[in-house]
Subunit: 215 residues, 4 copies
Amino acid sequence: MARPRTSGSKKARRAEPEERRQAILEAGLSVFAASGFEAAKLDDVADKAGIAKGTIYLYFSDKHDLFEQIVRHAVTPVLGQLQNVVALPDLPTEDLLARIFEVFRTEVLQTDRKLVIRLVLTEGSRFPKIAAFYHREVIAKGLGLIRQVAERAHARGELASDEIKKFPHLVFAPLLLSVIWDGLFSRIEPLDVEGLLAAHRKVLIGSGSRRRTGK
Amino acid sequence: MARPRTSGSKKARRAEPEERRQAILEAGLSVFAASGFEAAKLDDVADKAGIAKGTIYLYFSDKHDLFEQIVRHAVTPVLGQLQNVVALPDLPTEDLLARIFEVFRTEVLQTDRKLVIRLVLTEGSRFPKIAAFYHREVIAKGLGLIRQVAERAHARGELASDEIKKFPHLVFAPLLLSVIWDGLFSRIEPLDVEGLLAAHRKVLIGSGSRRRTGK
Amino acid sequence: MARPRTSGSKKARRAEPEERRQAILEAGLSVFAASGFEAAKLDDVADKAGIAKGTIYLYFSDKHDLFEQIVRHAVTPVLGQLQNVVALPDLPTEDLLARIFEVFRTEVLQTDRKLVIRLVLTEGSRFPKIAAFYHREVIAKGLGLIRQVAERAHARGELASDEIKKFPHLVFAPLLLSVIWDGLFSRIEPLDVEGLLAAHRKVLIGSGSRRRTGK
Amino acid sequence: MARPRTSGSKKARRAEPEERRQAILEAGLSVFAASGFEAAKLDDVADKAGIAKGTIYLYFSDKHDLFEQIVRHAVTPVLGQLQNVVALPDLPTEDLLARIFEVFRTEVLQTDRKLVIRLVLTEGSRFPKIAAFYHREVIAKGLGLIRQVAERAHARGELASDEIKKFPHLVFAPLLLSVIWDGLFSRIEPLDVEGLLAAHRKVLIGSGSRRRTGK
DNA sequence: GATGAATGAGGATTCATTCAT
DNA sequence: AATGAATGAATCCTCATTCAT
C-alpha cells in the first residue's frame, strides 16, 4: 500500500518523528500484549523502543492514548488484502476460503497482528472506544466480506448451508479460536491450524461441493 | 444448616469458614472479571464479600492465589452435566448437539460461568498454571466429549465430515465466539446466540443426517 | 493482654486517629510554609510526622486537601481570644489596642500561626477556596472586630480619625507588615515589633485620647 | 531606529539580543507571578516570549537565575520618581504624602510592578539573595525616603507623631496591604484603595496639620 | 479468627535542562 | 545564535500486604 512520504527526506541523522512513533507503537504492542494494559510498564515500552521514558509523551498523551493508537495503527492493511482476494471473480468457493484462511494464517497468526486481536479480546471490554472502533473497522467489515462470499457461494450451490449468510461468524469462529489457542495452550498442546482450517473448509463446503469427498 | 461444627454457640451469627471462602471467591470472580487481574482491587473484593480486607489473607495466600482458586472453583460442575447428556445412548446427533449447546447457553452464557471463561481468556497467558489447569480440566475434557459425540455420529453417518473427530475444536469455536462477543460487542451489535448455534448445528450436520432433515 | 478493645479512654498503644491527624497537619504546616505548596514534598511531611507516606492518604484525599485542611485547622482560636478582649466594657481604647496587639504578637507572631498567615499570603491566590475561606473566617471577622473597637472609641473621642471605622484595615496593616517582615527581612534587619506597634497605637490614638473632645 | 548597533545587516528582522532578554524577563514575570516559582513552567515563559525553550538558556543560566533577574530588572525606576517628589522642597506634608501614595497607586498597583512585589513576598523567603537585594535596593531606600519626609514634617509640626521617624514602616504598611489585598481578596471584596490611602493620610497627619483639616 | 490502619514499593507523569541540528 | 526533541530525575498517589489490637 502506498503512502505519500512526507518530510523532505535526504539523510536523516536524527530518527524521523514517524519512525519513532512506529518504534513506540511496536514496542508498545509487544509490551501491552505480554502484560496486559494495567501491568504494562511504560518504562519497558521505552526500553524496548530504545528511547527515554519521557519521549513517549512527546508522541502520545498518556498510556491510554498509546494503547488506543496501537490498536488503531495495526488494523487496516489485512482487510484490504482480503478484499482483493474476494474480488477475484471466478474462484471456486473452496479455493476462495482456502486463500482467505491462508492470508489469515500467514498475515495474522504468524505476525504481530495476532497480538492486536488478542489485545482487543483481553482489554476491549475496558476500552469501549476501542471495542467500538474494532467492531466498526474490522469485525463489521470482515463479516461483511464473508457474507459476500457466502452469498455468491450459495447462489452457486457451493455451500453446505445458507445459514452462513445470516451468521458469517461461523466462518470466522475457528480463526478466532486459533488466535486464542495460540496464546493460551499452544505450549501445552500445539494446534495444527492448517489442519483445523482445512477441516473447517470441508465442513463449510459440506456436500455443497459437487464432488464427494468420501473416505 | 449443614455443619454445626465450629461456632455452635448462640446463634449462628458468625459465618462458617467455608461460607466465607465462597463469598470471597464469588466476589473475587466478579471483581476480577470486571477489571482484570491487575486492575482488580482487593479492597473491592472485600467490600463485595462483606468482609475486611485482611480477612482475604486468612483464606488465600495472596492475590495470585485468590485468582487461581477462583478459576479452579468455578470449573467442574458443567462438564458433569454435559457428560450426562452425552451418555444418553440413542439420541440423534442433531438433538444431542442441540442439548449440548443449550446447556452451554443457559448454564454458561447466562451465568457467571462465562466470566470464568473470559477470565481464562484474558489472563490465562500470564498464569501458565491456570492455563494448564484449565486446559486439562475443561478444554481437554470438553474436546474429548465432543470427539466422543463426533465418533458416534460419524459411525451413524450423522455428521457432515469426519474431520470433526480430528478437530472437535470446530464444534466448540462458535461457543467461544459467543462468549467473547457477549463481552465485547453485544452492546454495539447484539448477537442472536440461539440462531447462531442453530445455524452451526445445521452446518455441522450438513447432508449427514438425511433421516432428519425435516425439522 | 490485648483485651482492652476499641479505644476506650485507656492507654492507647496505637496513636489515636485524631492525634495522627494533628501530627500530619502540624508537619504539613511546617513543610508547606518552608517550601511553598508546589515544592513541598509529602515525603517530608510524612517523615516529619513520623509516619509512612501512604498514611497521609488515610486522612487526606490529596495534597490539595491537606493544604486546605491545614489552613482551616489553624484558624479560629485566636479570634475568640480577641473577641473576649474587645468585649471588656470599659477599657480605654489605647489599652484595648495594646492588649489586641499584644495578643497578636504573642499568639500569632511568636507561634506557628504566623506560618498560616504567610501560607495564605503566598499561596492564596492559587487557592481561591482558601482565600475565600480565610477572608470569611478571619479577615472579615477581624476587620469587624476592629471596626467595633473603632466605633466605640470614636464615640468616646478616643481616636484620631473616624476614618478608621471605614478602613479598619489601617489598624491591621502594620500587623500584616510584621508577619511579612519577620519572614523576609528579619535576618537582615530585625524589626522591633513591640516598638512598631506602640508607635502605631500612638498614631492611631493621635490627639484623640488627650483632649477627649468630640469633633 | 534608536540603535543601529548590532545586526545592522538587512532588515532588522531578528530581534536584538537585549530585546529578547526583555521579552523573556517580562514573560517570566507574568508567568512566575501567576503560578509561583515552582509551578511556573519555562515552556510557558518561552511561549509567552515568543521564543524556543532552549533560548532561555542562552540568556539565563537556569530557572533560579531567571527569577532573580526578573526581580532585579523591575526594581529601580519608581524609587527615582519618588525621590523627585520628595525633593520638592515646599510641599506641605499632606500633599507630599498624597503625591507619594498616588505614584504608588498608579505606578505600582496599576502596573505589573505590583507583581514583582508579590513575587518577592511569596518567594522571597526561599531566595535569600533576592530578599537581601530587595531589602537593600527597595525597602531600605523606600523607608529612608519616608523617614526623610517624616523628619521634615515633624520639624514643621505637620505630623501626628514623631514615632513615624523611627518607624517609617507605618507609612508603608497600608500600601503593602493594598498589594496583598489586590492579589487575594479583591474579587471577594474589592478594596477602595484611594479611600484607604486618603484615610491613612488623615490618620498620619492627625491634628498635626491644623491648617488644613478643613473637612 | 477478624479487623482495618499502616506500610512502602512501584509506576505514570511532569518539566528543567541538554544538545544535535 | 536559535531551536525544540529528547532526556531522566523527581514526586504524587495507589494498593497488595502486614500486623497490632
